[in-house]
Amino acid sequence: MILVDENTSVIVQGITGREASFHSRRCIEYGTRIVAGVTPGKGGTTWEDSVPVFNSVERARRETGANTSLIFVPAPYATDAIIEAADAGISLVVCITEFIPARDEVLWHRYLEGKTVRVVGPNCPGIISPPAGCKIGIMPGSIHKPGRVGVVSRSGTLTYEVVAQLSALKIGQSTCVGIGGDPLPGTDFVDVLRLFEADEATDAVVMVGEIGGSMEQAAADHIRSEMSKPVVAFIAGASAPPGRRMGHAGAIVSGASSTAESKKALLREAGATVVDSPADIGSAIASILA
């Protein structure tokens, strides 16, 4: 497994919000150790009679020793929350928040340059590792099965679709990482592919990309030169009209290299198994592992 393990202990930033509460409960049910919440102004209270709430991440970390943060705070405050977590010494930040302005993302990327903290997201479903019993995010835990396939994706529900296909074929997952639908993700395909390649608990990887940007091109280069484990890839958006943003902020065809066709061709050349139909992802992995 990558990014998380049995020692992962989590602070939820914005835990007293409605969505954050709902998902924190689901994470705890799945087995995640949520040890603290942070909501400025509500320090000293207890969330759902079980988790202490602090005014700052710094305090929450000092009192509980948490190493990971899960962020649900609204977009206008999310950049502040990411930087607060980094400054407090959190090593993994998972940011679920959607609709963060690009300028803010430029600024936190710049601020975190040279620091060791890893940000996953924003605008992502989070991370789940069935073997570790750890879920830091909003994905439905029940569709996952412990196993040895890694999943990395820019999408949310399309990832659930892939995972459900795998689980139905009795193919479990080591870790699933949603890197998010924004143009400037904290963690990209190459970062996650590198971790999966080095991970003893992962035998093969499913990669779900989409139109827009150049992350898949970089992934293709990486697969060609650095990956020995098999990769099955699907790129969403082959039928999307150029110049139109398809839901995700980053999903827009702006030139020949950001089309699904061109990304698929590069991944194929790099040695990945590229499937054209999203319904074939599970069976493609099954035939590789057979």
Partner: protein
Amino acid sequence: MKLHEYQAKELLATYGVASPPGIVVDSPEAARAAAQTLGGSVVLKAQVHAGGRGKAGGVVAVEGPAAAEDVAHKLLGTRLITAQSGDSGLPVLKLLVEERTPIKYELYLAVLVDPSTRRPVCVASARGGVAIEELAASHPEEIATIIIDPLTGVLGYQARSLTAHLGLVGKLASSAVETVRGCYRLLMEKDCSMVEMNPLVVTKDGRLLALDAKVSIDDNALYRQREITAFEDKTQIDPLEREAEELGVSYVKMNGNIGCLVNGAGLAMATMDLVSSMGGEPANFLDVGGGADEATIVGALRLLLKDPNVRVAWVNIFGGILRCDTVARAVMQVHERLRPSIPFVVRMQGTNADEAARILNTGPMRVMLEADLARAARLAVATAMH
């Protein structure tokens, strides 16, 4: 959010970037008066949210106020179909009447956020007026890029290296440095996705002017750019897309006949890809998002059914936070209230899919349930062709 050319130029002017003198008009009479004021020799430019206006006949040079009135009469009230406007074109309700500028040469300059460096970048070329994507592919050496650190902004040496690449010296070079800095400040202060001048021109009398300008604003930042939201021109947005925006769902109109309703952007794209690969044609992209409630889904289905091309509605849901039974209830509600004449193919997986199936099985015959993704897609395609 896209801005019109005249709005982009207004913004640029406040950041010290000059354009040719111009007046925005919405009637032939006003065009005549504007041409008179500007000295007679003018260009009329249709204000629509799409590139490729010149080739489509939306940019016309005229001599004299009478000719300006005549051309304005022909352009105003029509729909301009360009390579980027979609098949039905965009309404021409405003014209920018601009003084004709004797051009010495054309340049390209743009500032945008670059995903690969995660920084703002400024891109420039001495070859303006061409498609930058094509130039990047054929002559990459002709494009100069500077990567800007948001901590420092555009540094003097960076701006100088760009202007040197553009072959500018003396007064023009310092004017170009100011232009680069102005564009960068505009990008950051007004949360632009892009500021582009194609072309930026050097006039025969030695001035640097933005002859065309394109500025778009990051939708995620509109909450803090209130004065810019006043620039929004709803006439340039497809009526169904406008309705979707108000409903809080993401909808992109397309030309096919299979109406798709999906939760999640990636799955919505994959759903369209799947029907396309089977020979079907999606009528739209429609992502209701992760946390939609029953009312939103009813609204989204209503929207989907308003497209007269739609011959089958394909609902593809992977239930997570959004429960399948919520969607099933919305489908039932739409059938009871609107009695749609077209069939529905419904595919649901995940949270409460069994309950959803139970609800829909009591529903009308026109709702076809199919749990398998590929089989459901095939059913939707076959139904649309039938």
